[in-house]
Symmetry: C2
Amino acid sequence: MNNLGNTKKDNATENIALDEKDIAILQLLEEDAKMTIRDLAAKLNLSATPVYERIRKMEQAGVIRQYAAIVDPSKIDKALTVLCYISLKEHGKKAGTKFIKEITSFPEVMECLNISGQFDFMLKVQVKDMLAYHEFNVNKLGELDNIRHMESVFVMSVIKATHRVVY
Amino acid sequence: MNNLGNTKKDNATENIALDEKDIAILQLLEEDAKMTIRDLAAKLNLSATPVYERIRKMEQAGVIRQYAAIVDPSKIDKALTVLCYISLKEHGKKAGTKFIKEITSFPEVMECLNISGQFDFMLKVQVKDMLAYHEFNVNKLGELDNIRHMESVFVMSVIKATHRVVY
DNA sequence: TTTGAAACGGAACATTATTCTATACTGATA
DNA sequence: TATCAGTATAGAATAATGTTCCGTTTCAAA
C-alpha cells in the first residue's frame, strides 16, 4: 500500500496544472483507489516512477482529498435516506454558526448544504428506518431553537451515486 | 497495497453479522482507506491476520462497496453544484426506464435519487460554472422529451460532506 | 469435561510502494 | 544551430506492506 495517503487533514490550497495523464490517473483512482501504481503505469504507457510522483503531487496539492472505503448503508442497517430542508428564524452570523455547529455534530447527517431558494439548508440524513428518522427529528432537530420551517423528502431509490467528478 | 479491492462490480447480497471489531475497522477505513492492516491491527489490539480476514469478508459480502479516491471538485475546475429537481410527464415503466438510462449517462450527474413529494427525481449536478450549467440544461436536459417540470436549487456552500455511514 | 469450529498470533513469503541514479526530453536563450 | 537548465522518465535496488501458512487459543455446545 502506498503511504501517499493521509491527505485528509491538510487544506492544501496550492493550485497545480493537470495534464491529460493526471486526469487519467484521477479517473482510475476515483473508481478503484486500490489499483496498483504498476497497473496505472501500464494503462498510461509509463513506468511506475512518474505515476507515483504525479499522485504524490496531486495529494499534496489537495486535488486528491481523501481515500475512502465506501460502505453500503443497507448492509449496516441504515436503509433509509431522507432529504431534510430547513429554514432558520435568525440569519445572523452568530445564529448561523451555532446552527452549523450543532448540525454537523449529528452523525446521521451525511451532508449539509447551504442552498438557494425558500430553504436555507438541505440535510442528507441516513438512518435505520422511519422510526429512527422520527426520533432524529424529535430528539435532535427538535432540540434546535432556531428552526422556522422544516420539510422532509424521502429517497425511494438511488438511481445513480458516484464520487467521480473528473471527466 | 492490499488487493482485496475490486469490490465494485459484484453485487454481493449475502448478509453477514458485524461485531464491534468489524464496525471499528469500517469506521477507520471510511476515514482513510490507505491505513495499513498492521496499523489497524495495532489500534484494535489484534494481529494482522484477523484484521485481514475481516476486511476480506466485508468486501465479499458487499459491506465495503468500493475504495475511492475523493477529488476536490474546485481543484479540477468544477466549482458549481446544483440540485436539479425533475418531474416527468409519463410515469410508466417504459418511460421511466428510458429517462433513467439517459440521465445516468451524463457525467455531470453525480447523483440521481427517486424521491417523494411533488418531484420525481433529484439530480446533483457538478459543473464548472453557471454557463456550463446552462449548457447542460439546454443541450442535455433540454433534449429529453419526458420532462414535465424542472427546478434548480444552487449550492452556495458545503457545510458538511462525508461518506461515513457507520457510527 | 470433551469436542469442534471459529478466531487468533507470529513467522514466512509474495507483492507493492518508494527511493535512487542515470538518461531523455523540452523549451528558452544566445 | 548549439547550449543550457529544468522537468519527466525508465530501470534497478530497497523498504514497506499485503497475503498465506500453521500451530495455538478461545468459547460455546454436547
